[in-house]
Amino acid sequence: MSYRQWVGSAEFTGNLASYFDAATAAPLHPVARQALTAALADGWADPAKLYAPARRARQLKQAATEAVAAALRVRPDEVWFTASGTAAVQAAIAGVLPAQRPDVAPPALVHSAIEHSAVLHTAQRHRLAGGEVVPVPVDRLGRVDLAAWRAAVAGPGVGLAALLSASHEVGTRQPVAEAAVACAAAGVPLLVDAAQSLGRAPVPDGWSMLAGSARKWGGPPGAGVLVVRTGVGWSPPEPLPGGEPGLPVVVAAAAALRAATGEAAAEAARLAPLVDRIRATVAATVPDVEVVGDPVDRLPHLVTFSCLYVDGEALLHALDRRGFAVSSGSSCTSSTLRPSHVLTAMGVLSHGNVRVSLHRGTTSDQVDRFLAELPGLVAELRAEVAW
């Protein structure tokens, strides 16, 4: 299909029948599509200008801000829109740990070893700028070591601590409430990257800053949200990393978050048993497999497993040929050819790795078809290496 034909049809032309990578990007929520169309017609003007179309755009932005604030149970003036989830994390860190004077030691940044690369890359820049960075290990299930966390945040000169709400690679929920208590006791602000939880599962209170990504809750790509609680020593970085997101995208992101939050409990109750089915069936029907992450205290929509003696990239392509879109933490699927830092921090197998993440369009039949095809595909790949 040519670009011109595609623009004419304005429909997704790929196969959504077995799209299992919602943890990267969920399909657009229908409410977001409506909101995006309406905001493109009504909210295209620059909200900063002083004429009627600009006032209309400002009204839409205010409404979007209030919708996000209500969904997250925070104040509207605590909500900031960014260009992506990564930009939200960057803005959060840069606003607390700004570039320091060369004669002053920069504050230290504490983070779990399994943070999203958005945090790790920002931490790396902080380190290169002379700041101390303290990674905190996780256990075999991918849960941060609370004793090590408490010790790290109570260390000298800590300016910020970052903990994700739940692992984007293995689904294990993190002890956010306990981590927040330790941060409060040490007087250290806590940034929670809630990209995998927003619109899907509640996030415990106690954090100072919260970051999320619209495309992971069914909003459009190109929008993130950062919440900064009143009283946190944060100043908006100038310029905002990634720049300001477009207003129609923000409006659609807010509509999707409101809708997803409203549906979250029902969707979790529907998807969690599908994940349970995948965990149990894969372990029973695929020989030599390790299903990773906490089997109970986990996200409702995400499951990860590693197949011994299988090349992760080959498995991903084999699944793609059958119409299944999944992600992998295996080194051969990464641009750096290094295994996932999450899997290695947990000490679990990194080759033959598959992450399945479900969304509101996922059906029981799709999951069953995946489970029916997987054992044969794994067996074929093992036969190729004469295992």
């Binding site: 011994l308 003696y309 197998l349 080759h351 290496v385």
Partner: protein
């Protein structure tokens, strides 16, 4: 070194090939013997000990860069 450990050279191979080679070679050795695996794929440092844990063998560590020692325990 009167009893040099057997060596499995997997340098230049990418995972899962070193793990496959280990899984083939180790059962050929007597129980209790130590196999030295040479592997320069970055995933080997993680996946060789993970395999040992899953299979119940003993990962003894990495005495040198790109070298790993594994004891057959059963």
């Amino acid at each position: 070194m009167s009893h040099p450990d057997p060596v499995l050279d997997c340098r230049g191979q990418r995972c899962p090939l070193p793990v496959i080679a280990l899984a083939r070679r180790l059962p050929e050795l007597p129980v209790g013997s130590v196999l030295r695996v040479l592997a320069d794929d970055p995933a080997a440092a993680n996946d060789l000990p993970a395999w040992c844990r899953l299979r119940g063998h003993r990962f003894l560590g990495s005495p040198a860069p790109d070298a790993y020692e594994i004891r057959r325990t059963h």
